[in-house]
Subunit: 338 residues, 3 copies
């Protein structure tokens, strides 16, 4: 994959060497994300942040990643001006807005909308989520987190044993993560969900075609034993026909410290795409896990900044210039580097 | 007109030399807008972007223009804090907010509100649209586009033949453009509209007083023959008493490639203030024109960045320092410079 | 108080030397706020501006203050993404969002929420208002304004005579200001309010415990005679059970030029936390005072930028480096330095 000038629309664009290239650059972004150094490599560049559907953390993560490279961010949230309500096509919107920036990060509620926008854009577009379709930067940051967490044990993604738990039918992030796992070898995926919320068949088939072992289960305890990564998900309540239907599944699989201690290998890393539902009736990841050093959920969101910095650097073709435009940080950074 | 420190509230402020001064500076902004060079002339300056009425493209265009000069942007959209709902006067709002920036770009739904705000502001204010009253930067970018498009034919604005088509009664942009055309000589303006949506009489009178020829018509085909510029407009549906009344006029004048080929001179440039209404019932500019090289509608929005950069540079008195604070761009810019 | 890395959550954190340290740094920020010089000391740093409750002026004041130090701002307004609606805890929100910036300014409608957020944040948090609880930067800017205004008369805060007028029961700013006044000596506080809207007893007690003289009154004329500072407040209408109940007090204490001339010492400085209610029925500070040189309400909001710059500089430990990263301004600044 040639990164310079490319759109990032789907995990399907990435071959294994592409993923590894992104991760190698992401590694090199850490001093900047941790505020040990500052780089100004993109000083003067503008990110157009077009969040036609709100998502605070994805939006701020993209924006901060771009700022950390020295660039500026111009944002749009919601369909605030209703040009679209006045009958404007996505083609026109894209042609106009792409004249205002060097690269665009876009989220939109309609499937395929970001690709349609990108086809008319004059600058590279990164998909920040298009409905239930794709959210490639989330999948990349998830896989990057798996890689980072396993590296501490001198292991790689090949040979990974992962359990995915919860609403596997509607959870977009687990779908995309499975697609990326298809690029690696010898993975064992345990899918724990209510029968009605099983992982879609075509994704399971694709994993098996890639030579991976897939186990499906509706029992939490047996599914989470003997895995490297336990990837928990929230019930996508907004996707059910009614709150009553969602309630049938709410709170079905709850991981807390007691369950973890009893059933998990002590090296098992806990991940979650967030937000986790901390209301009494749900609690798929109990707050009593907050002091568990294997809870990686906030390292995951931190990694999102690294991965997005890497994508910007690659797409704008400055990955090799980041360090040359860098300098020391002279303000307080103790909270981040304790 | 002395630009340094001035408000830009109305096209009526501009004499011909003023317009030409803006355009001359806008020409020099092109390397920066095209990302061939970066300038940091306004590094440290702050634009207060106060969009009390939403307008994504105008807001982002102003913001990007300021970023391209190296400055920062602090934005307000909507009446989010409702200080005004708590009884605050526009005078107080202006006195307070003008303490936070070096220059302000403001849009507001009420006619005259921007001028009232400006009279209390301690920094220059640019009108980004005050209801149906004025939107001077749109008029300037329209005229700048006419000038640019005709320059390819070695022609100037003097002697221009232009057709304005559509809702000429409620369309704010055509009113302001006519006022600017009054500064030039020997213009022929063909006004094509339904009888009920004719250009207001005082604007027609002003054009004639300036020595221009004005032809009014309700027939598209005869109106668009033999012109340099065909300026199409959207039906301002929100200004009609009812959707039913608007429906009487919707789709009345449709330009598509077939009509263009049959009736227009092959050099005729097509403009539109955008958004164009691409819904089946409207389509004043058909999408089959998208590949027509004379469709200038996206060059028009691009020119908006140049004109706004020029106004910022003139008002903040840095037009002659832009190049001295510039350097090469080292990131990918292929989409913009194919 | 050790500033570097500290949260600023409450005026209760500040001892007198802390307040004086903030004010000393604020004094040194004036050349930057006035655009006589530019500093880039925080170039590369990011402020997370998290306004879960809207407040244009506080939000823009924080943002501009950070920009004036050279830093970038990433903003969130409203509960736009509803992660909290999806059951996310404030702990999770804080852990995630604090990964995206170097310091956070936060406003939230719930009392205690900012402190709860801060306890989970990895970076310093400044309270920009948490419901009816605290708004420490407002109290600091008020006291800084008192100090600045009295300095012209060669006086300090010790020995101050101040009248607070209006809704003293619900007005958060007067409560916090009284708490800060407790750090100084020999202050006389005259509290003018309807009996039902009197200053809470514990605040009056605390003033007296600090050795100050407190006079309570429901008569404007006698309360405002012979004071250095007249601090007027708006009726907090949104805090009353009904508009009818609020109407009982609306317009009760109106200061205009005639009242001022007749009853106030000619050196009496007029302050107000803004917005003032300029509707006919309210008008606690009449607009005929706008030309009175002792009306300090806009100097007050300007001072907010200085105080917020000072807090950022202290918390991020760059107060002594601001000048070293500075340079002259070369754009038009006439409006600010007439």
């Amino acid at each position: 994959m040639e990164f310079a000038g490319s759109h990032v629309l789907s995990v399907g664009q990435f071959e294994r060497p592409d993923v590894e290239a992104v991760f190698a650059v992401a590694d090199r972004m850490e001093p900047y994300a941790r505020r040990r150094r500052v780089t100004r490599v993109l000083e003067g560049a503008i990110l157009g942040s077009m969040f036609f559907e709100p998502s605070t953390r994805t939006r701020v993560s993209f924006g901060s990643a771009f700022n950390l490279l020295g660039g500026e961010v111009r944002e749009t949230t919601g369909f605030e001006n209703s040009a679209i309500a006045k009958g404007e096509s996505l083609y026109d919107t894209a042609r106009v807005l792409s004249g205002y920036s060097d690269v665009i990060a876009m989220r939109h509620p309609a499937e395929g909308s970001v690709a349609e926008f990108a086809s008319a854009s004059r600058v590279p577009v990164i998909n920040g989520g298009d409905g239930s379709n794709e959210h490639p930067t989330q999948a990349l940051l998830d896989l990057y987190t798996i890689r980072s967490e396993l590296a501490a044990q001198q292991r790689g993604i090949d040979g990974l044993r992962i359990a995915m738990v919860g609403d596997l039918r509607f959870g977009r992030t687990v779908h995309s993560l499975c697609r990326l796992l298809g690029l690696f070898s010898d993975v064992r995926v345990t899918l724990v969900s209510p029968v009605e919320l099983r992982m879609p068949g075509e994704i399971v088939d694709a994993l098996r075609s890639a030579g991976h072992r897939v186990v499906e289960s509706d029992a939490l305890e047996e599914g989470i034993a003997d895995v490297d990564i336990l990837y928990s998900t929230r019930l996508q309540e907004e996707r059910f026909a009614s709150p009553e239907e969602a309630a049938l599944y709410r709170g079905r699989f709850r991981l807390n410290q007691q369950v973890y201690t009893r059933h998990c290998d002590p090296n098992t890393v806990i991940m979650h795409p967030l937000p986790r539902d901390s209301r009494e009736a749900a609690r798929e990841l109990d707050e009593d896990l907050n002091d568990n050093p294997k809870l990686a959920i906030f390292r995951q969101t931190d990694n999102g900044v690294l991965v997005r910095m890497a994508l910007f650097a690659l797409i704008l073709d400055v990955a090799d210039q980041v360090d040359a435009h860098s300098r020391d940080v002279h303000w307080y950074t103790g909270g981040r580097n304790p």
